[in-house]
């Protein structure tokens, strides 16, 4: 299986949809161990990204992902904006000239996205940030051989749930120290929705 330009557009659309639906929930998560704006931030960013790519007549996935990256970067703000922006920018670079996007290329892209996020945010795994969804997902893709919607969704959900067990040491949640235990990291939740959206697009194809 491989992702067409339309699939990539659908991925962003679907990500936006899920995030809009869960905007208040994301904000609630961020009120518990942050400053209560995460849902508002990513909803604003993905709304604009979906609108931006709806306007375009794209012939390459790299362009879709690059426009998404730039829009997220300039519309989300906060800690998550530059990080999501970086992730999609790295994905864009990796898939450039590889349409439709095959599994190996996408897997490489994910790996570079994780590297980009870690470099920018200076967080590693286990610090209760969105790294803890993106990094296990990149690992998971490396272990598998092809896109599998159901498994992707399940794996992302597990990774997100796993952040409950962590004590935050990066980002705003770090101020809460042990009091962040037992809470899902908001950025991991929105990241999970992004992978869930990808799973839906893949599921719809098979």
């Amino acid at each position: 299986m491989a992702l067409t330009v339309q699939d990539v557009v659908a991925w962003i659309d679907k990500s936006n949809e899920t995030i809009q639906t869960n905007k208040d929930y994301l904000t609630t998560l961020d009120q518990a161990i942050g400053d209560g704006d995460h849902g508002i931030n990513v909803a604003r960013g993905f709304q604009e990204a979906a609108a931006k790519i709806a306007d375009g007549n794209y012939t390459s996935s790299a362009d879709v992902l690059k426009d998404t990256a730039m829009t997220l970067m300039s519309k989300i703000g906060g800690a998550s904006g530059p990080l999501f922006g970086t992730a999609f920018l790295k994905l864009s670079t990796a898939v450039k000239g590889n349409d439709p996007v095959d599994y190996a290329t996408f897997t490489t892209g994910l790996k570079e996205a994780v590297n980009g996020i870690k470099q920018r945010g200076k967080a590693i795994e286990g610090e209760k940030t969105l790294v803890d969804v993106w990094s296990p997902m990149a690992d998971f893709f490396s272990r598998q051989a092809d896109f599998d919607g159901e498994k992707i969704a399940e794996e992302a959900k597990n990774a997100m749930e796993q952040t409950k067990t962590m004590t935050a040491t990066k980002g705003r949640a770090a101020y809460f120290k042990e009091r962040s235990d037992g809470h899902i990291d908001p950025g991991s939740a929105s990241s999970c929705y992004i992978f869930k959206a990808l799973a839906d697009v893949i599921g719809g194809k098979s």
Binding site: I40, K75, G77, P82, G171, R172
Partner: protein
């Protein structure tokens, strides 16, 4: 949520328009952005100072734009760091060829977005230096300490140094001297509500207060029963004095209201802070009491101490024409 607003998603734009309407001769809003800059920017050969961050901390930061302080402030959404493109526009608009000093509060979001903007500016050949303020002693680990009210004193000193003709390196050095010598700590009696969220960020009981609060509705480090102003002043001041040696130099004191605390109460806190300092033999050179770095309508206050040398005294005394900091 009881607020005097229109569309909750437009509060930052509405505020910026209202601010420019109040100061049409001194301030401008860069078209298509939420950047507030001096109307006469860029000033040739003067180092420019740019700060900013999420909105909801008014008068920070746009109120500090003016001769002697900031050249531009970038306003993000409420409690949300502004984005790199906006910060980049600010840098371009105020650079007069002598470089731009970015004053950043130490939050992941602010640091990441300002860093990206700095990279964009450097790519265009603009000299940029960054100063990260982390005055909040409520956070133990120094690397993750937040920038709170002490940031305003960094603006003041950096702005004065630039006005005096300091080079980018000198301006940065003066700003960093403030960062090294400034400590703050806050507390709250009530939370605040982000307009677009609609519900308060945390709950506090009728007799509870929260010590070590941030300025973004993040809850603090300890929840306690409300005590007297004297006890509160002592707790905040003691934590600051424990963290840094303020003896052997005069200090500047800032008693900052978080939004809803009557000025009367800030002065009551000031009385006790000054008494504690006097008792410890620490001489107060100058005192600022008011709302300098707020958290929407949060009730509470913070105490800031800055240890001064002769250079900092001179720079604090230089005139400023920023609407929220006239001296």
């Amino acid at each position: 949520m009881k607020k005097i607003i229109n569309d909750p998603n437009e509060v930052v734009q509405d505020m910026a328009a209202g601010l420019i309407a109040a100061h049409p001769d001194e301030l401008q809003q860069l078209p298509g952005t939420t950047v507030i800059a001096k109307s006469n920017a860029p000033i040739k050969n003067k180092v420019a100072i740019v700060s900013g961050g999420g909105s909801g901390h008014e008068p920070a930061h746009a109120g500090y734009v003016g001769k002697g302080m900031l050249d531009a402030a970038v306003a993000g959404e409420v409690f949300t760091s502004p984005t790199p493109d906006q910060i980049f526009e600010a840098i371009k608009a105020v650079d007069g060829g002598a470089g731009v000093c970015l004053v950043i509060k130490n939050y992941t979001g602010d640091v990441l977005n300002f860093e990206m903007a700095a990279e964009l500016a450097e790519a265009e050949g603009i000299d940029v230096e960054k100063v990260v303020v982390n005055d909040d002693v409520a956070v133990d680990e120094e690397s993750s300490r937040r920038g709170i009210a002490g940031t305003v004193l960094v603006h003041k000193v950096a702005g004065a140094k630039a006005e005096q003709g300091g080079t980018l390196k000198e301006v940065k050095a003066a700003a960093e001297k403030v960062v090294e010598n400034v400590r703050s700590m806050g507390m709250a009696l009530t939370p605040c509500t982000v307009p677009a969220a609609g519900t308060p960020s945390f709950q506090l009981g009728e007799n509870e207060m929260e010590i070590g609060i941030g300025i973004h509705g993040e809850s603090g480090i300890e929840r306690k029963s409300i005590t007297t102003a004297d006890d509160i002043a002592k707790e905040l001041t003691d934590r600051i004095l424990d963290d840094f040696d303020f003896t052997g130099g005069d200090v500047a004191v800032m008693i900052n209201g978080l939004g809803s605390t009557p000025e009367m109460e800030l002065y009551i806190v000031n009385k006790q802070v000054q008494a504690i300092l006097a008792e410890k033999g620490i001489t107060v050179y100058t005192t600022f009491v008011g709302e300098y770095m707020t958290s929407l309508e949060m009730t509470g206050c913070s105490v800031t101490l800055l240890k001064l040398d002769d250079e900092l005294k001179t720079l604090l005394n230089e005139p400023s024409q920023a609407p929220a900091f006239r001296s």
